[in-house]
């Protein structure tokens, strides 16, 4: 009796063990690891990942992350994902280097690892997906201003601090493509230090110094809100268009008031969708992450990888009065 029981148990265990890999081949389990849970931006990305999963059919999304934005928390989460033997990990990292050893371990076990949004050093991932690229952003911010100025006019830039790397790069890229927008005259760049009060005062100064100002480009979320408020308070909403990069939740009021006709930011839904598509294609060997290669990502086209195996998803997504209500509660 007891021998029979032992035999039966062993048989069941063996069957389960044999069934496991077969099961894993059926559905790919892709883990979306975010900086921290409970952040609107990442919740939206998870929505995009689910959309991709539905489209692919045989994918299960594990949306996870630490409760606060620490690298330690992410390492713990990734370790448990390795133990669960997921097929792919797509991570938005809290630290470029700290996650590398853990992610290497994951790759050693045959898990596909990519980073998105916030990258990991090249040694710790197969590829990195940037939401957009500096040239695309630089082009987008001036295009946003030009789109509403068919006859051209004076525009000014309200940046963050004089030393902000991101903003400086974007403004530099913007200057490069300025020639493609004839009639758009960038008069000056001022710095609001990413403080509401200083940005507000600088925006007021711009309106005084350049009475013919037609648009203010603020590639910073604090600056764009402060400039929109300053324009509204000066009674020039509709006259001066405040545009640039901002978050829909923060800009909803100013789009409604007419101070901002449109602005841009990457779309987190598309980002989660693309990351999932890439992870799936890499995990199923339908594509390979190598410098100069390209990886398809469903409805978003395909991503081209540079020498550093990084790629840019798309142009920043434009928000205006037609779609802001759909996004203002998301992030």
């Amino acid at each position: 009796m007891s021998i029979l029981k032992t035999l039966l148990t062993s048989a069941t265990v063996a069957a389960t063990l044999m069934a496991m890999p077969a099961h894993a081949q059926e559905t790919k389990r892709i883990a979306l690891v975010v900086k921290a849970l409970g952040i609107g931006f990442f919740e939206a990305a998870a929505k995009g990942a689910e959309e991709a999963a539905k489209e692919l059919g045989d994918v299960e999304i594990i949306y996870t992350g630490p409760t606060d934005t620490t690298a330690e928390g992410q390492i713990e989460v990734i370790n448990s994902l390795i133990a669960q033997q997921v097929d792919a990990i797509a991570v938005s990292a809290n630290d470029t280097d700290a996650l590398v050893p853990t992610l290497k371990k994951a790759m050693d076990r045959g898990i596909t690892v990519i980073s998105w949004d916030s990258g990991v050093a090249a040694a710790g991932r197969e590829m990195h997906l940037n939401p957009s690229s500096n040239p695309l952003i630089g082009n987008m911010i001036i295009k946003l201003a030009a789109d509403h100025l068919p006859d051209g006019g004076d525009v000014a830039v309200l940046s963050a601090t004089t030393t902000s790397t991101n903003q400086n790069t974007w403004i530099e890229e913007m200057t490069k493509v300025q020639g493609n927008y004839p009639g758009i005259n960038v008069v000056t760049t001022v710095y609001g230090d990413d403080k509401a009060d200083k940005s507000y005062t600088e925006a007021q100064g711009l309106m005084q110094s350049y009475p013919d100002l037609k648009a203010i480009i603020a590639p910073t979320s604090v600056g764009i809100v402060a400039a929109a408020q300053a324009v509204t308070d000066a009674g020039k909403a509709g006259e001066i268009n405040v545009t640039g990069l901002g978050l829909p939740s923060e800009m909803a009021g100013h789009v409604a008031s007419g101070a901002s006709k449109s602005f841009a930011i990457w779309n987190p839904i598309d980002l989660g969708y693309s990351a999932t598509m890439i992870a799936y294609n890499l995990a199923t060997d339908k594509a390979e992450a190598k410098a100069g290669g390209s990886i398809p990502m469903g409805r978003m086209g395909s991503v081209m990888l540079d020498d550093n195996t990084e790629g840019a998803m798309a142009d920043p997504f434009v928000y205006d009065s037609s779609n802001i209500d759909d996004f203002k509660d998301i992030f």
Binding site: V225, E250, A252
Partner: protein, 327 residues
């Protein structure tokens, strides 16, 4: 009387302000136009109010580094209340903001009074604590323009006799402070405690309580400014007014309020704040490189302190101005 005024700090500051305005006007003619002047005053209102609150604290030989955090926390609380109960009238929010600010000021005051901890240490601590609380109650999220009710945002912008309510609030605060400092026993006690704490004890003044009251008053002003700030810029988040306490202290120093306590006037604090406000508004319109802007603001502070130190070294500390004049 007139000669006394010409020699005073206030006159010197007025002269400095006039020179700055004249210089800016050569490059930007409309700078001194009434509309723009009103704009600058409105822009500087919050700084003026906070400088007055800080002044009474500094007069008692203390310092309050937590004013900006206090402002941010009060502002965040009223913004949160407004986003949850949009129907609550503004006067009630004002009372909430002021009371909350006073409670925070009282925390500082109690620690300085009863535990005798140096004020710079106490307020350095509460500065971080208040910011931390904002993070806790808001979860680090922003309260944005569309989440605030229309009346919440309209109040400081409402124009009365050509000036927005925000400016009138500053005018009102100046008057109230002038009355407190010049006409009340408490106001005179501020000077006595700062000028010579030991002598003040002998005249029957409770030094600890006087300092406590100074912190409560400064806290109340910060609370009021919290609402005004959030409503004016139509946004509330953890970092609002970050580092503003230093600007407030700078305004006091430029206005001739001695960090060593006991010396200073309402007029000085107002002019000091206006001086900074004018510089802040002038630099963007005359196209000075942002790298220079910081250096210029910094130099103004050091020059002010240098002038201060020279004028103070000549005179002894004055406890009771009236008494000194009569003898």
């Amino acid at each position: 009387m007139i000669t006394q005024f010409i020699k005073s700090r206030e006159a010197l500051l007025l002269l400095a302000i006039a020179i700055v305005i004249a210089l800016v006007s050569t490059r930007f003619p409309d700078f001194a136009a009434p509309a723009n002047a009103a704009n600058i005053f409105n822009d500087t209102s919050i700084l003026i109010m906070l400088a007055l609150g800080q002044m009474v604290v500094i007069l008692t030989r203390c310092i309050d580094l937590s004013v900006a955090s206090n402002l941010a926390l009060s502002g965040m609380v009223v913004a949160l209340i407004n986003s949850i109960v949009p129907g609550l009238p503004v006067p009630i929010l004002l009372i909430i903001a002021i009371s909350l600010g006073m409670i925070m000021g009282a925390c500082n005051g109690i620690l300085v009074w009863k535990l005798d901890i140096p004020p710079i240490v106490v307020t350095l601590g509460t500065l971080t604590i208040f910011r931390g609380i904002i993070f806790l109650i808001s979860n680090g999220e922003w309260i944005n323009a569309h989440e605030m009710s229309a009346s919440f945002k309209a109040f400081p912008r409402f124009e009365l006799l050509g000036l927005p309510v925000l400016s009138w609030m500053a005018v009102l605060t100046v008057i109230v402070f002038a009355i407190i400092v010049i006409r009340t026993p408490l106001g005179r006690a501020f000077y006595a405690v700062g000028g010579n704490p030991h002598a003040a004890v002998y005249t029957g003044i409770d030094v600890g309580f006087t300092r406590f009251m100074a912190f409560v008053i400064a806290g109340g002003v910060s609370g009021l400014c919290g609402y005004l700030w959030v409503s004016r810029y139509a946004v509330a988040y953890v970092d609002i007014a970050g580092g503003f306490e230093l600007e407030v202290i700078a305004a006091c120093v430029i206005g001739g309020i001695s960090i060593a306590g006991g010396i200073g006037s309402v007029g000085g604090a107002v002019l000091g704040a206006l001086f900074l406000g004018i510089i802040k508004n002038a630099l963007p319109v005359i196209n000075i490189s942002p790298f220079w802007q910081l250096a210029i603001s910094g130099s103004a502070i050091i020059i002010a302190v240098a002038v201060n130190a020279r004028s103070e070294s000549k005179k002894g500390r004055v406890i009771l101005k009236k008494a000194e004049q009569t003898t």
